[in-house]
């Protein structure tokens, strides 16, 4: 019954998208043909021009040869590109997509032993420990592709190559033809939920993600297959509204159950105001709901139920010039999961209700090519409910972490970062004193960055 209505509603949504699109596709075909014809003509004349230039040069060369009587003349003929380049994406090799490769690698040191690192989990939140090893780590060599597909779509893909293999992190189409203010994103993408979630790792201000993301969404964040619709109303200030229908494969939030089709749904709103000439505020709430079936909560258990995740983000940035900026960024996140948890070895079923939250506050000061940052992470500031059949489980002290960071940017395309974490997140009484020395370098045509 529910399944049927899902199907119906999806059809409805697609219908809306297509009514918009067909109208615009047909309008544009004539324009495109005209444009192509013009381009062809322009190229013909360019070829003619080049041929006559070549002729002229040949004649000149002959003349020089005759005059000097020498055969050993090295002529420098300037190579003319076949296309008049320019345009927004500045592609010289006309139809190749813009490609870039970003290497993100770091040296890691900690007072913990290797096995302690592997079990450095957050009891009550996640059971997985830390992934990185002492010594040298390759986070990824990430390949980015982007280009307009046609006058109707742009295509983006993020393909990190790690030592384990190749992954399709993101691959999506963005519409450019929908009526003013509306845009759709289709494919696999980082959800617009919250602030940190949609940022690529090489743009993070710290090596690692905020603790609250690791604890509530897993360290990869909400990165899902689905459809996103965003709307930018014609207001005097920036306000973006978005809705998402996602497959729901995030292991912690939604999990394994593919039989349900799209089963995670999100909405977010972001508003931004300029304060004075140099200051900008960006803030807004996000919410995500979905059905959950996951093995991620406790060892040898399956949880079946539903999840609600909510967040509020706040960013203030003051940037008087390229060489100076100050940023304050914070997010508060709240999660409720309710359902049944089954012990897979004994088959006993218990009711589980957990309501947990967390926040981070980070600040960055940039001067010249240097950046300095501090971050504070805290879990369970207000809610630490973990109820098994109505009985609260206590896991110990509130997990928290404090970080300090210094970075140097030799150019726009490279970065060297030193970071220290004082990490009390594993509730064992132990402290993880970790130091990262990170190197990031990017080559190729990289897409412009958003705010």
């Amino acid at each position: 019954m529910k399944q049927k209505s899902f199907f119906k509603e999806t059809l409805w949504l697609l219908l809306i998208i297509f009514t918009f699109s067909t109208r615009l596709f047909s309008q544009d075909i004539n324009e495109r043909i005209k444009l192509l014809e013009e381009k062809l003509k322009a190229q013909e004349s360019l070829i003619q021009q080049q041929q006559s230039t070549i002729k002229l040069l040949q004649e000149e060369l002959e003349l020089i040869k005759k005059q000097s009587g020498q055969e050993k003349i090295v002529a420098k003929v300037e190579e003319k590109p076949a296309y008049k380049s320019g345009g927004l994406f500045g592609a010289t090799s006309a139809y190749n997509p813009n490609i870039s490769l970003i290497l993100d690698t770091f040296l890691y040191s900690t007072n913990l032993k290797e096995d302690e690192l592997e079990s450095w989990n957050i009891p009550g939140f996640i059971k997985e420990g830390l992934e990185h090893k002492k010594g040298m780590n390759i986070h990824a060599a990430e390949l980015y592709f982007f280009a307009p597909v046609d006058p109707f779509f742009n295509l983006y893909a993020t393909i990190p190559v790690t030592e384990e293999g190749v992954e399709l992190e993101e691959a999506y189409l963005v519409t450019t033809f929908l009526p003013a203010g509306i845009q759709a994103k289709i494919g696999k993408f980082k959800s617009g939920f919250g602030r940190h979630n949609s940022q690529h790792a090489h743009l993070w201000k710290f090596v690692d993600e905020p603790l609250v993301y690791r604890a509530l969404t897993g360290h990869e964040g909400i990165n899902e297959k689905g459809i996103q619709l965003t709307f930018l109303p014609d207001f005097p200030f920036y306000a973006q509204l978005g809705i998402e229908a996602l497959q729901g494969e995030n292991e912690i939030l939604f999990g394994l159950d593919r039989s349900k089709g799209l089963h995670a749904f999100g909405a977010f709103a972001k508003a931004s105001f300029d304060i004075g000439d140099y200051g900008t505020i960006l803030l807004g709430p996000s919410v995500m709901i979905g059905d959950t079936k996951t093995e991620s909560i406790e060892e040898n258990s399956i949880f079946t139920g539903d999840t609600t995740l909510a967040a509020f983000e706040f960013t203030y940035k003051w940037k008087p010039s390229r060489w100076k900026s100050f940023t304050l960024q914070s997010e508060y996140m709240w999660r409720k999961q309710k359902g049944k948890i089954q012990d897979t070895s004994t088959s006993t079923i218990n009711n589980l209700k957990r309501i947990q939250d967390g926040l981070y506050l980070q600040t960055i000061y940039q001067t010249g090519r240097w950046g300095f940052g501090a971050r504070y992470d805290l879990l369970e500031p207000l809610n630490d409910k973990y109820n098994l059949d109505g009985v609260q489980t206590s896991f110990g002290d509130k997990p928290w972490r404090a970080s300090a960071m210094v970075e140097f940017n030799p150019s726009e395309f490279s970065k060297i970062r030193l970071q220290y974490n004082y990490d009390k997140s594993s509730r064992t009484g132990k402290t993880n004193n970790e130091v990262y020395l990170q190197f990031i370098g990017g080559v190729g045509a990289h897409a412009a960055h958003s705010f």
């Binding site: 927004l88 010289t92 203010g181 014609d234």
Partner: protein
């Protein structure tokens, strides 16, 4: 419940999307101040112009702030410098604006550099040379010949978007052309031929080409990367050898290396406006050029 919320959202989307902008003026969004100024001179009261990059800002490094995205949201046409100058922010502004009028390939996506023959186009590039512009030097707003061609292009394109006011745009272009001729005669009479300068950045190449002076070297040896002590030593050697008239810098150039070189060489420094409005008495493109040429001719 879920679906009700989602449905409501979609309905709000559709309703708001069709409530379009009904004002009569053509909404021009220009990236740089000089582009906004030329658009004003060609469009006058028939256009309303918003400029994204502030007058004191380095046009190479601008952030795609939400405020800029909302400005582009309402544009009938977006006019930009091109030659990759705005590559770090404009593509994301245009896409995030969700405005179909200004997407690449549309008439509302106006690349001023289309009307210009770029100079200093490197035959091969890689980023060991710094953030070099592979399509050529993008600072052609110092070139009167290029600006005239851009103004013509703007008049034609505005006439195409707004055909009822075609004669208005043509007339304004004619006025622009007449003023341009008059000013050109004045500028050419100020003799810059044979002068030599050191500049912070490769801003003045077009001007040097067209007015016959020489840029003997740039303090910023690799674009976008602050000069190393070796670069500075080299430029001091160059200065001692070629004896330039002055060092040229602009409001967003780092002061320290400029002052250091001036002290070492005894050369005077000239703060040259880099764009319309960046210094007093540079309110439009003509007065901006007046100021630039008179500053250089007095050196």
């Amino acid at each position: 419940m879920k679906w009700k919320i989602i449905k409501t959202f979609i309905c709000v989307f559709c309703a708001m999307a069709f409530a379009g902008n009904l004002s009569a003026e053509i909404n021009v969004v220009a990236t740089l101040p000089w582009i906004g100024d030329i658009a004003k001179q060609i469009g006058k009261e028939k256009v309303s112009v918003t400029t994204l990059v502030k007058t004191g800002q380095d046009p190479h490094y601008v952030e795609a702030k939400p405020g800029l995205i909302i400005a582009a949201r309402k544009a009938d046409i977006i006019m930009y410098n091109g030659l990759d100058l705005e590559i770090g922010y404009l593509p994301v502004i245009i896409e995030s604006s969700k405005n179909p009028n200004i997407q690449p390939g549309k008439i509302g996506n106006f690349d001023c550099s289309k009307f210009v023959s770029p100079i200093e186009k490197p035959s091969s590039v890689d980023r060991s040379m710094g953030d070099i512009h592979p399509l050529g030097n993008p600072h052609y707003h110092f070139s009167p010949a290029s600006i005239l061609a851009v103004a013509k292009g703007m008049a034609d394109t505005l006439a195409e978007i707004d055909p009822t006011n075609k004669s208005h745009y043509q007339k304004n272009y004619q006025l622009f052309y007449e003023k341009w001729q008059e000013k050109m005669a004045q500028w050419k009479s100020k003799n810059l031929v044979g002068k030599k300068f050191i500049a912070y950045h490769t801003l003045f190449s077009y001007l040097a080409n067209e007015f016959g002076f020489q840029i003997a070297g740039c303090i910023e040896a690799k674009p976008g990367i602050p000069p190393s002590s070796g670069d500075i030593k080299k430029i001091i050697d160059t200065a001692n050898r070629v004896k330039p008239n002055a060092i040229l810098f602009n409001v967003y150039s780092p002061k320290k290396p400029v002052e250091f070189i001036a002290n070492k060489t005894g050369l005077k420094t000239i703060l040259v406006p880099h764009d319309v409005g960046s210094l007093p008495q540079t309110d439009d493109w003509f007065s901006f050029m007046d100021k630039v040429i008179s500053l250089l001719s007095e050196a």
